[in-house]
């Protein structure tokens, strides 16, 4: 017995010594397996399951019984022919275009400001700007719904006091302004993320480039246009892709401020999916189909962004 155990130990030691270790490539695969499994569990499976549901008739009764009648592309057909989904999609595009452009412009501007090392307020601003990012989205929506209140809202009160308006404005209750009113709290909440990214990228730009350009007589604007902006392009692409995908899924501010109204003025794609899935008759198959269509659109947009902008850079 003792002799067998000794032989096994000796074999193991000689095996390790004789180079039966995993190659770096194999080791990398093995090390990634836990991550892949976890991602498959928490991301891939729900995505697959939602796709599965989108091809079936699914309500609470079906979920409880586990029997889902197959309906093929019917849910997709219903979504694509629903005028409300088309309107929601249009609103989503409009909303996303506004908030993404606003976020990039503001993020670059604010990041440039707080990047000024010699100004003490820059350091204060760097801390303060993180506050909105810490506010839960639904709380943010509720705060702004009070701000927008027609009769008692803080915003109207300030504008009235400043003499900017003589009559209160129905910011969130007027179909002409409601969607734009939603963009403000959304940008307010999500802007810090973009600022952080741009600010980090700014810190990576070699100061000597600016100093050399200044020696050659380039003014601040030309230095920004020809040095800073091109070097920020990769991070701007990242922001474009991330912020567009998040903006397409805007939900909390809609829920808290307008609930899609007035009329269909602020119905967006995520709100559509939610209402179809979680309001009677709880058509989860239809909701899944609309969510899938939205995800596909975001994916296509991301590809277009990356191709367009990197081609320009090259």
């Amino acid at each position: 017995m003792a002799a067998d155990a000794e032989r096994r130990n000796t074999d193991a030691a000689s095996g390790a010594a004789s180079g039966r270790e995993l190659s770096p490539r194999s080791l990398a695969v093995v090390m990634n397996v836990p991550t892949i499994l976890i991602l498959a569990l928490v991301l891939a499976y729900p995505i697959y399951y939602a796709g599965f549901l989108s091809f079936h008739q699914v309500g609470p009764g079906q979920l409880r019984s586990g029997v889902f009648p197959f309906v093929g592309l019917l849910n997709y057909e219903r979504v694509l022919t629903d005028p409300l989904f088309q309107k929601a999609l249009l609103n989503t595009f409009t909303f996303s275009a506004i908030v993404v452009v606003a976020e990039i412009v503001l993020a670059v501007a604010i990041a440039l400001l707080i990047n000024q090392q010699g100004i003490w307020t820059s350091r204060v601003t760097r801390i303060l700007m993180l506050v909105p990012y810490a506010v839960p989205p639904i709380a943010n929506g509720l705060v702004w719904s009070f701000m927008y209140s027609y009769q008692f809202g803080f915003l109207n009160r300030i504008l009235f006091t400043l003499g900017v308006i003589t009559e209160p404005i129905n910011w969130a209750g007027n179909p002409d302004t409601a969607l734009f009113a939603i963009t403000v709290p959304y940008v307010w909440r999500t802007l810090p993320f973009a600022i952080l990214l741009v600010h980090a990228a700014l810190q990576g730009i070699n100061k000597e480039l600016h100093e050399a350009a200044a020696v050659d007589g380039a003014n601040a604007w030309r230095r920004f246009w020809h040095i800073t902006l091109p070097l920020l392009t990769p991070i701007i692409v990242v922001i474009l892709v991330l912020r567009t995908s998040f903006a397409f899924a805007v939900f909390e501010e809609i829920l808290a401020i307008t609930q899609g109204g007035p009329g269909d003025a602020t119905w967006v794609a995520a709100w559509y999916s939610y209402r179809k899935s979680f309001a009677p008759p709880f058509d989860i198959g239809l909701g899944s189909a609309s969510a899938y269509l939205l995800a596909m659109l975001v994916g296509i947009l991301a590809l277009v962004y990356v191709r367009m902008i990197y081609r320009r850079v090259e």
């Binding site: 209750g173 309001a279 709880f282």
Partner: protein, 449 residues
Amino acid sequence: MRDLPNTKYDLSRRRLLGSAAGAATLAGMGGLARSPLAATWADRPPSEVDLLNFVVWTYGDIYSQLATRFEEDWGVPVESVISSFNDHPAKLMTMFASGDYIDVSQSSPFSFPNFIQQGLVEPLDGLPGIEEYVADFSPFTKQVAVQNGQVMGLPYFSAIWVWNYYEDLLEQAGLEPFQDYDELIEQLRKAKKDGVSQHPILWVAGVGLEQLPGTWYSLTWNRGGTFFEPDGTPALGPGSVARETLRWWAKTFEEELADPESLKVQFTSSAKAFSAGKNLYRGPNHHYGLSIVNDPEQSPIAGRVKVHGFPGDGRTIGVTHVYFLSTGTRDRDWAWKLLQYLGGRTKDGEYTQAVNLAKDAMLGSGYQSVMESDIIRESWAQWGDVDAILDMWGKATYLGEVVSSVNEPWHFPWTDRLNIEVQNCLTGQIDADQCCDILTAAVDEAKRG
């Protein structure tokens, strides 16, 4: 695998004798009407459970009180699963879909047919004492709780649609409460022109099942119209009462007579907004808004808001919300016991919940005996003219007779569309003709599902 009891209640000899004995004891008792046939609310179910639950939308602390009382009476703890009114259907159906136990829950009359269709609601026929409850149901309640000949629920509360006016502003404008719709428009114009009120009327037209739709339903019904013909076809065509009512209603927004907040406010929030004292009229909406606008702790104009009936013959609409027994219950007998604590009688034989809701929140009862009792007169007097309200109550018709789709599972998605298109109309995005044409077409879409 859990057991989902589907068998009807077994009316045993012991239970029958017990009921008869209880009835004999109660015979001749005063107070709220009690049948001489049964006292089944005091019987302990034969089975044993260690926990029950109800899934309800939030309303003060009534549910924690009821849970405590149930445990004190029967020794069985009750878990309260409480969400907001708007989130309740999603919460309930998520629990149902995932196979959670649900013993008792509640529903508006609008979601109820859908819940029944989804297989969530257990019929109550044959359960001990159910006939007595049904005999005491008010007409509204019967229409909601009895579906296709089966008793599907017990009443939570009933409400009718009424108007409110702010007496001070009306006096300031030199006006008396309107007697017809032309007079109403003229009064609103005058009040605005004279600077008495910038937006003289606050409609309850926020998105919902009863808010914006309820306003249109009640106005249309009062003017002699309905939303569906007896054969189920939509009654929204050219010249229909519903279409002309909408056209008239939209005019109040076009002329900026309506408060812009109208399109956002719900039941309670409209009452609170009206309490600011900036509008002459509020409504039409549930009668119990008076308990907010005339509550000195909540309203600066408390005591100065009066209830006003609909013009003409005064016809209005009403609803009853219900509690029901779930098919996903862990024990049908015990769940029935718990259901009675919410929508029927407690162990002492009193309609405890109905009486408390009437006294604390001015909610009407789905039981005729409670509505006819002194409790209503005594407790409601602090908020309004009880005689006037009860007179209006007598002129109320169940909303389902005005909008027969309420009894259909497709009513909810159709209402979703109604909310959108009517708000589009009231904000001038489309006109009343376009709105009604869209809603007519939307009936077929909703039916297709």
